[in-house]
Symmetry: none
Subunit: 230 residues, 4 copies
DNA sequence: AATGAATGAGCTTTCATTCAT
DNA sequence: TATGAATGAAAGCTCATTCAT
């Protein structure tokens, strides 16, 4: 198996094998505590072999970010595509985010490390990659917002700013949730946020439809919605 | 005692001297890239002397967090105390946060590292410290919210959940701003957020007073409000 | 108390205070694991003060050896002086040694360290001090042997060699006993040795007197003579 | 396996290479003054490589003890096997010991350090290893003694105690010799000891055969038998 | 392509010693 | 004399990376 000349597609397959093993290791131990040997063990490869596929530890770390986040991006794109009306699209985006974050709750600290790493790195390349990713995600959101505005479901508001705000809010809530020990339902926290924000921005048209539900959410909050960590 | 060179108060003063030098170094290089020697150089002390005041590197790192965040907390407490009506209190809290974050924009990545560090650490002590700090800050916010509700300026809403949400949002916006290269005004971003949220939660009483202003903010957004990094 | 000008005799008293505290610390932790601070704590003095009395750690270590061994030497001299007939003298020497070693069993590893230290030290001074001490002890033994020879209780044998041999044997048995976890009576081991050696060297005169006793000792051995460690 | 550079047997060979270089360094500088770098230099390896073969400095130190002492043990076993009659066996054991010690005279301080180390160590493992080694050696001696007793060459005496005593005496003489600066012949010292002890324990059968020789030894002593240090 | 032995720069921490007071 | 804060050399150990096979 190891003897055969590895065709390009095999090479890419092995890169992915490595990166997926690396996610778990980086996530559970953190960048600095993760040894190349740990990753090699996880993929069942020799240490040296990793260097055939990634130039160095940092390169592999970045690859982990890319691999992981593009999965998230794909889901988000899919969520938008799967629905037609913008309200459903907006809901689907939230659902996707919650699902993604809850699924990868153990990877949470990684996100912080990616960010910290990017802000620190001498080269801008990592930071730029993160920004680009965020940009694409924010465009996704902005489009939905615009559609809702077109349909007069949403007040007139700078949709680019709103999309960026949403992105920040989303990460902020996630962060808060992780630091709080995942002691409540992330989904409920997101819905609470949606109610808070929505009640200000939706037009009368939409408001009348969801008024009772929103009212209830706001009064209940999300802190007492238990969440079971796996 | 007469013979002692350094009285207890001097000892504390030197601890602070060290911690304040350490903030800058940790902030600019990050925890792992910061060498004890770097900090020693910054305080003009010998490496060994640092160990007279802090048991190890991590201890010093935690002290940096405590020192920095309690300054923030103090400002927040002051902001609340300085004002009487809850609307002004709420504004003051936002102002304080913005000022604090803008002032310490270069320290931003530190915050990420604190969080990552806490989530990673084998001992819970750091995480608990962070949670406690967040708890105290959220109590501060919840009280203001309650006061606004009492005055019928704010809709009825679970104020604890709201306070936690606000905390998350606040950090999230800050994060977003840092990652975005501090390319817009953090203050404007906060105000935009305030408008978004406020327009949903304020009662008619308040809404009528600020309607025009809020409307304007929402339409302008915050992305094109230049901010000069120092 | 600390304020008064310290007269020479006070100075000497404090040197002894320090050295006696140091014995315990060195004995229980070993030379390298003993910190000057440990000793300072034990004497209730400041670290720096030790250096007023001893030039450095090694100097203090040597002082410990001198102090300890000269106590042993004094006991040995006393043992010889207290008795008149050489057989009693010889017995008293053994008794003294056993008592000294048993009393200071916990100090045992120190002796090894002294020796190792001396053999290693760049300067010969420590080694010479040890040799001189051994010399004086061996002279003590040789004189007793000669007296026994004069009285025809002991065969004609090179008494200097015998004294040196006895010294080595004595230390060797002690060492063995310490390594064996002090699991038998050191005194019985010494007596066994005395019987073994004595039965070869004593003349008929003496042999006839102690034959039965010696015979019994030899057959019993010493391994099953329990010894209670404190 | 085909690709592996170092087969298991090579690995063991390198472990031995290292340990043998380490003996010399430890012996000449002592445990604490020996730096890992010194040993690395001696084997012509990088510091880090040592850690591929031994977990830490202490592990290497213990390996030195094991390696060295098992060589000694092997020689002792061989000495016993090579001879048939117990008198020759006993002589061979002494010869072997003397040869071993004389050959490794420069390693002498190491023995003290091993003992001190073992007595100090928090874990008993080293001490136990030393005791086991001593046990095996004492069994070897006890058997020879028993054989001599069977042949009525040796008086009836507790042979286990005697074997332990011999071990102690042997180390004690060696120690004395080292401290005395190896200024006389170790072999002669051992022979003197043999005469002293033997003359008491041998039966008439043997005594008549060696009486003159023993008598001469005892009168000559061993102090004036020059020994040339290499 | 795969391996894993070898490397050595690098860093935290310790602690004997100094010296201003 | 006594103190204890300050010092900084020193060393064990780690681990990303290299490279001969």
């Amino acid at each position: 198996m190891a003897r055969t000349k590895t065709a390009p597609e095999n090479r890419e397959a092995k890169r992915i094998l490595i990166v997926e093993a690396a996610i778990g290791v980086f996530a559970s131990k953190g960048y600095h505590s993760t040894k190349m040997q740990d990753i090699a063990d996880a993929v069942q490869l020799a240490k040296g072999t990793l260097y055939e596929y990634y130039v160095d530890k940092e390169d592999l770390f970045l690859a982990v970010y890319d691999h992981w986040m593009s999965k998230y991006e794909q889901s988000m794109i899919l969520a938008v595509e799967e629905h037609i009306d913008p309200v459903s699209k907006a809901d689907a985006l939230i659902d996707t985010t919650v699902e993604f974050y809850e699924l990868h709750a153990t990877y949470a600290p990684l996100l912080l490390e990616f960010w910290a790493h990017a802000l620190r790195s001498t080269s801008d390349s990592f930071l730029i990659r993160i920004r680009d990713m965020k940009k694409r995600l924010s465009v996704l959101g902005a489009e939905v917002t615009k559609q809702m505005q077109t349909l007069k479901l949403f007040r007139h508001i700078d949709s680019d700013s709103f999309a960026v705000l949403e992105l920040g809010i989303s990460d902020g809530i996630f962060l808060q949730w992780v630091i709080d020990g995942q002691s409540y339902s992330l989904r409920e926290a997101y819905k609470f946020r949606q109610s808070v924000i929505g009640s200000g921005l939706m037009t009368e048209t939409l408001r009348s439809l969801v008024a009772t539900k929103v009212q209830k959410k706001l009064q209940q909050g999300f802190l007492h919605t238990p969440f079971k960590r796996k």
